[in-house]
């Protein structure tokens, strides 16, 4: 086994200070240039390795030698909500290892295939049109996050899962408290408990009726009734799908609109493209913004070498997807937002067996939203007195709390 290039170096604080709201902390570009894998400070005295380069991230995320389970030796706890999730034995899909993970994932994957997502196209387009109607009805200036970025993905995932959108204020608030990176573990526990109680009641109805064509009804029929999974497991699935369904895409819409408005020539190039070119532009937007900025967390369970650094069972690793997506070894002029670049292969949805299940849905929602918004509101701009961007602080997903636009 080779020597550790990072041997003897003190553990760093995880970089969080952003200069540009659209770019990861500049510290990551310095770290990418240093051989080896630096140690960073995590909770409970742990010093996991930090992975910042694209090839290293892709290699390790493809490896079968990692564990995503909170109870694996060396699993790095990073935020207070991790403590809560470990202590309460979080058993969600993203915290499960293969082969169990893949078995569970495949039960859900049928509902998120490219074909199934594209069958929803008219529903998504109608949802986007209605959101833009509401923006226009509100009158200029208006908050794009409140009227467009949040409602579109929330309405789509509600439609898909069969969750009443009328309850959106409740579950958006609970999810936001659960996802806040600086929450007290008890606050996270309360928020998740509220969500679980709400979804348990809903799942109970779906199990007793079991005749709907929404995803929760189908899962109740296909998995709970035959005894493949029990009711609490379906509640956990519902929670994962609901929260993942609106939080990430909503942040991409808010932040993506702000980015396009700062780059009008890129917006014109996007609008001028055919569907294939627009789809490629969305890949660049995903790469550039990489809103899942909270590091991927794993414990090493098999010996491996990554970035010339030997890793052993019981080591913890943190992987920065935004940093990997700004690696000049993988993307030419990585800090330039260029909708014509070949950006596919980015790691914004992560990589390996845990790569985002809902990615086809996210891609289609983003494409239809930006195309419709910029076509129907061609004079859209940042409001004159909007001030600095109202960025989410300490959230696991990067994004804007509000964004005042005018037209």
């Amino acid at each position: 086994m080779s020597a550790d290039p990072s041997e003897g170096q003190a553990a760093l604080a995880y970089p969080t200070a952003r200069g540009c709201p659209f770019s990861p902390p500049a510290e990551f570009s310095r770290l990418r240039a240093i051989p080896g894998l630096p140690r960073v400070q995590a909770l409970e005295g742990a010093e996991p390795r930090l992975i910042t380069r694209y090839e290293d991230a892709k290699t390790i995320l493809s490896s079968t030698g990692l564990s995503a389970r909170f109870d694996s030796p060396g699993f790095p706890l990073f935020s207070p909500s991790d403590v809560q999730q470990r202590d309460d034995r979080n058993e969600s899909l993203i915290r499960t290892d293969d082969p169990d993970h893949l078995t569970q994932r495949r039960r859900l994957a049928r509902h998120f295939t490219v074909k199934r997502v594209h069958a929803l196209r008219e529903d998504i387009q109608r949802t986007v049109d209605e959101a833009v109607d509401e923006l226009l009805a509100e009158g200029s200036p208006a908050d794009l996050v409140k009227l467009v970025a949040r409602p579109i993905p929330a309405r789509v995932i509600c439609l898909l899962l069969g969750v009443p959108y009328a309850d959106h204020a409740f579950f958006e608030d609970a999810a936001s408290r659960a996802l806040a990176g600086d929450s007290d573990p008890d606050e996270v526990r309360v928020a998740l408990g509220e969500l679980a109680a709400y979804l348990d009641a809903l799942v109970g109805e779906r199990i007793s009726e079991a005749d709907g064509d929404d995803v929760l009804s189908q899962l109740a029929r296909d998995l709970v009734l035959p005894g493949t999974i029990d009711r609490p497991e379906l509640v956990t699935i519902a929670m994962t799908l609901l929260v993942a369904g609106f939080e990430t895409t909503g942040n991409m819409i808010g932040l993506g609109t702000a980015l396009f408005l700062r780059h009008p020539a890129q917006r014109e190039l996007f609008l001028a493209g055919d569907e294939a070119a627009q789809a490629e532009a969305i890949e660049e937007l995903l790469r550039y913004l990489s809103v899942a900025h909270h590091p991927r967390q794993f414990a090493v369970r098999e010996e491996m070498t990554v970035g010339d650094c030997p890793l052993r069972p019981g080591d913890g690793v943190l992987i920065s997807l935004p940093s990997a997506n700004r690696d000049s070894a993988a993307f030419e002029d990585p800090d330039v937002f260029d909708v014509r670049r070949p950006a596919r292969g980015h790691l914004a949805f992560s990589h390996g067996t845990h790569q985002c299940l809902g990615q086809a849905l996210a891609r289609l929602e983003l494409l239809l939203t930006f195309r419709t918004l910029f076509t129907r509101v061609p004079t859209l701009r940042e409001a004159e007195d909007s001030g600095p961007y109202d960025l989410k602080q300490h959230s696991r997903i990067h994004g804007l709390n509000s964004f005042t636009v005018a037209w």
Partner: protein, 65 residues
């Protein structure tokens, strides 16, 4: 051209279907990637190679060349 899909590895992300929609499809029951036709024309090679490159599970292999 010859394409092999390792069904045991596939995670059903669907990226191959987005990149090469005339070559790949996903099974309705579990999202696992399948080939649409037995024979894939040679002119699909760049798209198939791109699909193999972006596949999160490294489940797609092609004959060399």
């Amino acid at each position: 051209m010859k394409i092999t899909i390792d069904e045991g590895k596939c995670v059903g992300a669907g990226q191959c279907v987005l990149v090469a929609p005339d070559v790949f499809d996903q099974r309705d029951e579990d999202g696992v990637a399948v080939l649409l036709t037995e024979e894939t024309p040679e002119d699909e090679r760049p798209r198939v190679q791109e699909a193999a490159r972006v596949c999160p599970a490294a489940a797609i292999a092609t004959d060399g060349r």
